[in-house]
Symmetry: C2
């Protein structure tokens, strides 16, 4: 997947996305490993449960986007590391709670037993609660690394909005309440702008903000993230239809079984593939004038769509 692009130093460099994603995922993994530390205390099992899900796999797409957006506007990636960890912690908590028997009742996640299958429902609920809560501590502590505090505070406000009732949780509720009910395309887009889109947006916009983006840059990053988040969801729906449980490490084919509204169900497979492609191009167009430092963001837009092929 090597692509030629304008390099910062050499004029022309080859950008290897697979290598980039792998390196960044390892960088994020090491940071996550430091923020949730298993102790020997009476609460040791809580940290074990938190670490089981937090360190147990996943593409680390949201934290990688946070770091990439920070660097795309010329910031040091260290400035977005707190946010990168926080968004992954919140993403992980949402998966743990979603998998609970009272929610989607899923046994498998990232190719391993779901958290509650290993630690029980009570501990899984609490591990999710703790990951969500601790995420704000990790982000707030970014200020200790010299990131201007007004940027950190604005990002905390954005993160809580993205993850809470107006964002991810609100979207999850709409999703549950609209099962076995036919949504229009606009309603489906609204659902996903909350359920998955909001966390993509705070990853990208927050990363840019912590990196010192101008207001115009933040606006462009927001457009990029909106298109990317929607593309991600369209592809996620496609994968649920077209991929196997083994390929995905989680149960597939379940949307249809649950009577869920999906893009393939609403617009068909071919049109969904084309729509995802259009969204990736729109995402890239939004940051067209960002220069070479934004190349990872552009390539990630391709990657998000390609993983559905």
């Amino acid at each position: 997947m090597g692509v030629k692009c304008a390099g910062a130093d050499s004029g022309i460099a080859v950008f290897d996305l697979n290598r980039y994603l792998k390196e960044r995922a390892e960088f994020v993994q090491a940071a996550l490993d430091r923020v949730v530390i298993a102790g020997a205390g009476a609460d040791g099992r809580l940290f074990e449960a938190m670490r089981y899900s937090l360190l147990g796999g996943g593409k680390r797409l949201r934290p990688i986007l946070a770091l990439a957006a920070c660097e795309a506007v010329g910031g040091p990636r260290q400035a977005a590391l707190g946010l990168a960890c926080a968004v992954e912690m919140i993403h992980t908590y949402s998966l743990i709670h979603d998998d609970l028997p009272c929610m989607d009742n899923d046994d498998l996640r990232h190719g391993r037993p779901a958290n509650h299958k290993v630690y029980g429902d009570a501990m899984a609920t609490l591990a999710g609660d703790a990951l969500l809560t601790d995420a704000f501590r990790v982000l707030a502590r970014s200020a200790l690394d010299g990131v201007p505090i007004e940027r950190v505070l604005a990002t905390i406000a954005e993160l809580s909005e993205a993850a809470g009732s107006a964002g991810m949780v609100g979207g999850q509720v709409i999703d549950i309440l609209s099962e076995r009910k036919r949504l229009s395309l606009e309603e489906l887009k609204l659902l996903h702008s909350k359920k998955t889109g909001a966390m993509f947006r705070v990853s990208v916009v927050g990363g840019g903000r912590l990196g010192g983006a101008t207001d115009v840059q933040l606006e462009r990053l927001d457009q990029y993230a909106r298109a990317l988040g929607l593309a991600f969801q369209v592809v996620d729906d496609l994968l649920d239809v077209e991929a196997t449980t083994e390929q995905m490490g989680k149960r597939t084919g379940k949307d249809d079984a649950a009577g869920k509204n999906t893009f393939p169900a609403l617009m068909g497979l071919d049109r969904s593939h084309a729509y995802a492609r259009e969204l990736a191009i729109a995402a890239q167009a939004a940051i067209a004038d960002f220069g070479a430092a934004a190349e990872p963001l552009r390539q990630i837009a391709n990657f998000v769509v390609e993983r559905g092929r």
Copy 2:
């Protein structure tokens, strides 16, 4: 319960604690009513579930402490209003999750059916998640009211620490894991310093910080809150033994049934009453030189112990 004390203006004034608590609870209630607004959207039921528990009663002790600590150091209570709402939102989420069938499986809370009995387990889980997440938005927004942002950011870090794996959730895990296991008094104190103490401390210390407390004042407020939080828990244990379900609006006698470690079980009823009293006196001593503005904090220490008689 009118007590004579030195008033700020009149030299001597009568401080009516019951009236104070009632007025403050109403002030907090009005603020909470504004931060979680039920909408007509597809996610309306989420806000309904959040409001059901958030506005459905409780003494509002933590938010009242936040406001009182702010004023005790000469700050305007408005400066601590975001924190006051946030601690009550987090307290409420913890009750909703605690009552779930996979946790304590309680049907009754504040004299009404528990959240999950009305809205179902999935919605109760999500309403708790949303209250927890939104709490950080509400606190972060304090900065819009002119509170210095470094104070807001420090308080966010404290709040996430108090509520998360190192605080309330960690304490809850220790509590669950030590059922039917005999704890020492020191272990029981550690459990409660996390499970209930940490949220009392961030209410008081955070309220003081937002009101502009000096480092010495913060240290005193921390001592006050540690003693008060422990007193509260001792009394809570006593009430579970001595009060009826009707008096409390929640199921009593359950600690013993669940094989929980409690202060009465460890030190007996009489000694527990005396210990709570000693703690209240210690709390008052910690803020002895705060002057008249700290009178509500002193009286609240009495109130916390008296409610157990």
